[in-house]
């Protein structure tokens, strides 16, 4: 699939995944890459950016195996942003879909 497509939707998928429950980096990355086949390395910078923009909070939690994990939590601001993005996506999707179908 076109990488530009993927990149655009990646943010939305990350936000949606995190709106269900808090996740640590690797968990979130695996979750997202199940839906979009994307270079996993590029998700971490996105998490960082969304954290810097205060859409995510992070906290450390001990794990039974290995070092403590950093969990990401969607903030109220993030939730708002996610809803906006989702609306935009649906609208965009609907329009493109209609247009494509009218071609047949």
């Amino acid at each position: 699939m076109n990488t530009q497509f993927k990149k655009g939707v990646l943010e939305l998928v990350v936000l949606m995944s995190l709106s269900k429950k808090d996740m640590y980096g690797y968990e979130l990355v695996s979750e997202v890459s199940k839906i979009i086949d994307v270079n996993e390395g590029t998700i971490y910078p996105l998490l960082k950016r969304l954290t810097n923009e205060r859409y995510f909070d992070t906290y450390l939690k001990e794990s039974s195996e290995g070092p403590p994990r950093k969990y990401y939590h969607l903030t109220a601001l993030g939730r708002e942003y996610k809803d906006d993005l989702k609306k935009e996506w649906l609208k965009f999707h609907r329009k493109v879909d209609e247009f494509i179908k009218s071609d047949v």
């Binding site: 980096g25 270079n39 996993e40 390395g41 971490y44 910078p45």
Partner: protein, 351 residues
């Protein structure tokens, strides 16, 4: 690539970030690789999934709204002379590889690529002969000022040293070349571009330019400053080619990749160049001391009523110019450290 090597490389690229942020993002990658290996994947495969580490570093910096090129420049400015030379050496090999790759892609025959690489290498090495020869003849011209026996002895030593350095460079370049042909390793385009920017400012030519300043008269101070500026450009433009060798310092270096070998070699080369420049500077410093004494004497004579104002002014000009050159050279070589060779400057003020 092994995990530690990958993390070191990334750490180096992210040097502009503060310690906390850097270790923060690096720990995510470290954990990711650990998880993958726990699932039975090899470290190499897990890292290969990340793609090009340079591209990854760019994306990370982009997340911080940092222009990766600027970040690099700022980081490089802190680097020492040795590091700069080390960068040039590995940046040079990267550039060769990339150029040859682009050329050979069209023919899609690897053998063509290798031949082109070899030809490029030979051309560059032959071109390198020019500044080497220039430097040798310049030092020869300068040392003729010394008493004959001393001058020729110093000349021979310097000529030998310069040529030894040149031979080392040639051997090393050939070694890296064949190693790369064997490994067919990845090299970043960025490094190559940066290296090309810095290429005119080969350290050899820099020291050559210094010598020319000694010979020419009035514009010395000006030359001194341009040279300083050039050094800054040079350092900021220098590629961060020595990828394996992280300058971060917070992560231990491991493995003997060709990149870290390049770093070690470059460091040694840098030290040798420093020594050569210091040796070349000795007569300049001597002339400086003589001119300071001459200036003092002429001032004394003027005060006593002799008509040597012209000579005094010439001595003053020569002294200032030499001090500017010495200051510029040692500042470039030793950074913030105060060179003991600056003593003529102190002498001038006392007189």
């Amino acid at each position: 690539m092994k995990k530690q090597e990958f993390l070191d490389r990334l750490a180096e690229k992210l040097a502009v970030l503060n310690e906390k942020e850097r270790s923060d993002i690096l720990s995510e990658y470290s954990q990711h690789i650990d998880m993958k290996t726990a699932e039975g994947q090899s470290e190499e495969d897990a890292i290969a999934d990340f793609g090009d580490p340079d591209e990854l570093a760019r994306e990370i910096l982009d997340a911080y709204n940092i222009d990766p090129d600027y970040a690099k420049g700022k980081h490089e400015r802190d680097r020492s002379f040795e590091k700069m030379v080390a960068d040039k050496v590995s940046g040079f090999t990267a550039w060769m590889n990339r150029t040859a790759d682009t050329l050979s892609k069209k023919s899609s025959k690897q053998i063509v690529g290798i031949v082109i690489k070899l030809i490029l290498l030979v051309i560059v090495l032959l071109l390198l002969r020019i500044p080497v020869g220039l430097l040798t003849s310049l030092s020869a011209a300068v040392f003729l000022a010394l008493p004959y026996s001393v001058g020729s002895a110093v000349n021979i030593i310097i000529a030998v040293l310069i040529n030894v350095v040149y031979v080392i460079v040639v051997c090393y370049a050939l070694y890296v070349f064949f190693k790369r042909v064997a490994n067919d390793g990845y090299t970043g385009e960025k490094e190559a571009k940066d290296f090309m920017n810095g290429m005119n400012n080969e350290p050899y030519e820099e020291s050559g330019a210094q010598k020319e300043n000694t010979a020419s008269g009035g514009e010395k101070k000006y030359h001194g400053f341009t040279w300083q500026d050039r050094t800054v450009d040079d350092v900021s433009g220098a590629s961060s080619g020595s990828t394996g060798a992280a300058s971060g310092g917070d992560t231990p270096k491991k493995g003997d990749s060709s990149a870290s070998a390049a770093h070690v070699f470059g460091t040694i080369l840098g030290v040798i160049l420093k020594i050569i420049v210091v040796i070349i500077m000795i007569p300049v410093i001597l002339i400086g001391i003589i001119s300071v004494v001459g200036l003092g004497a002429s001032i004394a004579l003027v005060i006593q009523g002799f008509g040597v104002v012209g000579i005094m002014l010439i001595a003053l000009g020569v002294t200032l110019c030499l001090l500017a050159i010495i200051w510029a050279v040692f500042k470039a070589l030793f950074g913030k450290k105060r060179p003991p060779e600056n003593s003529p400057a102190a002498g001038a003020k006392e007189v």
